[in-house]
């Protein structure tokens, strides 16, 4: 029977079926962080239980860590407490921890694939909704709650209904400063925040094949904003290249055996999906959100909606409310709206290729006066690589802040936030009310649109800026891994 890649991984991990539709799945990898884990550990302790497989469990600190100088104390006492609790729990339950000072610290969804903790064909869970990101390397990855996390700690399994499947086919090729981020924003705009509820999204098609692994992470990451249970892309040679030589990926004979298995993880011809959605990305323009959920999105040259265009009174009220919260006039052009801040960061868009894209746009240019523009690398490894390449000099010369890694303004649990009424263009994944701080006004966009907006101090169309070629960046260094996985794809290779 023809199977999808999801079904192949699913079938490989099902241990038991209960009732009509409840499956017990083995969990090959459990990633955990300081915010959603302490209560799960506490419950384990109370019940006298242990972590069944500490060797398959990895902890790190990302959600509420400061991104300023690591030598400074963590000022927020609650953040400090959660960080301490994670360190204590990792020690007590014998789990590997990448703590605040680890050279491998970073955002969990950047770190997993970058260290080879995430590989194709495994099941992976983490107490964070954006765990869907790991689907970009062909893992079946689910975001879970704290109680489910406790169940995984104790049993290394999870009970789950079999999700429905939706193929999201991206055809064509990106043109003119339009990127993977614009494609996923457009998909969510079309399908709505609930459009993929109950489904796993498998991204397919020519445009996905052509994407780098890091671009695929961007689309898988945001599938959750369309309601998807998770997302996945068939692993291919690009994924193998991304993982080869990473510290936790298989090596030697195991690597060869792994690749033989990974080669089988393709969606067969004739495999069935419950839903299908198809777009051609060739005609897309850069997208930006105007409202208070990721589906409230328009092209950067368009105007924000007018409430009276909506017949459904509930919809009309929602649009009115969002415009009011965002401080926008019905029907106004989005381009040219003055901004206070720009944030390049988050598990959506803070990998090395995102930073190189920003450098290509801002090299030799300046951030507008009065705009706070910050770059928060997705991991400390991304940061070190960028510094050896000399990217940070381009950013600092342009007037960006160059910070340490963490979730930062995307969730505003540390000091990085917008003030009440402040407007920012962010490369992250959520623009909910108060997301970047009480009263904050968030516009989501690609790194290129955010960078162009930083230069103008207004929401800007990146298409008006020429991009330096990779070679014109005059990078000071690049490892073979970076050449292969980051620079060559940007050269069109």
């Amino acid at each position: 029977m023809a199977k999808t890649v999801l079904e192949k991984i699913w079938d490989d991990h099902v241990l038991a079926v209960r009732g009509e539709d409840e499956y017990l799945l083995y969990v090959d990898r459990h990633l955990t962080h300081e915010v959603t884990s302490p209560i799960a550990f506490e419950s384990l302790r109370t019940a006298g239980r242990r972590v069944r497989r500490p060797d398959l469990t990895f902890a790190l600190m990302d959600h509420n860590v400061p991104t300023a100088d690591r030598a400074l104390p963590v000022r927020d006492e609650y953040s400090r407490e959660q960080m301490r609790a994670l360190a204590r729990n990792a020690r007590e339950f014998s789990i590997t921890l990448f703590d605040y000072f680890s050279p491998w610290q970073g955002i969990v969804h950047v770190v997993g694939p970058e260290l080879g903790l995430t590989v194709p064909g495994i099941t992976l869970v983490c107490g964070d909704s954006h765990t869907s990101t790991h689907g970009a390397v062909g893992a079946l990855a689910f975001g879970i709650g704290t109680s489910e996390g406790e169940h995984v700690f104790a049993t290394q399994t999870i009970w789950m209904r079999k999700p429905k499947q939706m193929e999201v086919i991206l055809e064509g090729s990106f043109k003119n400063h339009t990127t993977a981020k614009d494609a996923i924003l457009y998909v969510i705009r079309e399908l709505g925040t609930g459009g993929m509820i109950g489904h796993v999204a498998e991204f397919r098609g020519e445009a996905v094949k052509k994407m780098s692994v890091e671009e695929r992470m961007t689309i898988c990451n945001m599938a959750i904003e369309g309601g998807a249970r998770t997302a996945i892309v068939e692993p291919d040679g690009k994924v193998y290249s991304y993982l080869e030589g990473t510290p936790y990926a298989p090596s030697g004979e195991d690597w060869e055996e792994a690749k033989r298995y990974w080669e089988t993880l393709k969606t067969d011809n004739g495999a069935r999906f419950d839903k299908s959605y198809r777009i051609n990305v060739s005609g897309l323009e850069p997208q930006i959100t105007w409202g208070t959920n990721p589906a409230m999105c328009i092209g950067v040259s368009e105007t924000v909606p007018e409430p009276r265009e909506f017949e459904d009174p509930a919809k009309r009220r929602m649009v009115e409310r969002a415009l009011d919260y965002m401080g926008l006039e019905p029907g106004q052009r989005i381009e040219g709206t003055p901004i206070d801040a720009v944030f390049i960061g988050s598990c959506t868009n803070a990998r090395l290729s995102d930073l190189v894209m920003v450098a290509r746009l801002v090299k030799g240019r300046k951030v507008a006066p009065g705009v706070r523009a910050m770059i928060v690398p997705g991991s400390m490894l991304v940061k070190r690589r960028a510094e050896r390449m000399g990217l940070h000099k381009i950013f600092l010369e342009a007037g960006f802040e160059w910070r340490n890694s963490g979730c930062s303004m995307c969730i505003a649990m540390n000091e990085d936030r917008l003030g009440p009424g402040e407007r920012g263009v962010l490369t992250s994944n959520r623009n909910f009310e108060n997301r970047a701080g009480p009263g904050s006004r968030v516009h989501l966009s690609s790194p290129l649109t955010a960078a162009a907006s930083a230069l103008e101090g207004k929401i800007a169309d990146p298409r008006r800026y020429s991009l330096a070629s990779v070679d014109e960046l005059e990078l000071e260094w690049a490892s073979p891994w970076i050449e292969r996985n980051v620079l060559n794809p940007l050269r069109g290779g």
């Binding site: 539709d21 398959l56 260290l115 495994i122 489910e148 609930g194 298989p250 959520r430 009310e433």
Partner: protein, 209 residues
């Protein structure tokens, strides 16, 4: 371990907002906790309090007629977004035992089941009608989990559907971990015995540049 949930009787409050994300149910600043308890005061915090923490007027759950509500009648896509289980803990600590909506965020729905918060999916039209009734104040509903029915004050009955496993969990209030280990321990061990080496993280890796 959640208590069994068999019957929920009480007042319904209307929440006439679609796409309520878990950031709205409880903002990120209240995730910095080490306990499940006491989160009710932060429920819908930004809608109930201003930037200085002063109460805002008029949020539905703070109005006199709805303060003792145990059922929330919402709209479409309730509980989308972040996986934070704190959203469920805050609702329950506040006294909410059931949320009725036409659809729910998947992770929120799963978290609710684990904690014994009943989520009832109904047709959008029925949800709208119930919300309208609730808005008048004083709508008391009687929900029977086993029978999968909602009894209206006039005696009318609305049927709903729960997945069998969800219903079982609610009715029994099981310690899931205990059950999994006891009944499926051998199957788990069997997988672990056959787990391929290439699926496991290597312990000693190459240093990265």
């Amino acid at each position: 371990m959640p208590e069994p949930v068999r019957r929920i009787v009480g007042k319904a409050a209307p929440l006439e907002v679609d796409d309520v994300d878990t950031d709205q149910i409880i903002p990120a600043q209240f995730l910095k906790v080490l306990s499940r308890k006491g989160l009710g005061k932060y429920l819908f915090y930004r809608w109930r309090f201003d930037e200085e923490g002063r109460p805002r007027e008029g949020f539905v759950l703070d109005r006199k007629e709805f303060r003792d509500a145990v059922i929330l009648v919402a709209g479409r896509n309730f509980g989308i977004g972040s996986s934070r289980e704190n959203a469920v803990w805050a609702l329950m600590d506040f006294g909410i035992r059931c949320v009725i909506a036409s659809s729910f965020g998947d992770i929120f729905y799963g978290n609710s089941v684990k904690n014994g918060l009943l989520c009832v999916r109904l047709e959008e039209e029925i949800v709208r009608r119930l919300r309208g009734e609730a808005a008048k104040g004083g709508l008391t509903l009687e929900i029977d989990v086993d029978a999968e029915t909602i009894k209206l004050p006039g005696g009318g009955i609305i049927n709903f559907k729960l997945e069998p496993n969800v219903k079982r969990r609610l009715l029994e209030g099981l310690d899931e971990i205990e059950v999994t280990l006891r009944e499926y321990g051998e199957k788990i061990r069997a997988y672990e015995d056959r787990m391929e080496r290439y699926k496991m993280p290597r312990k000693s890796g190459l240093p990265l540049e």
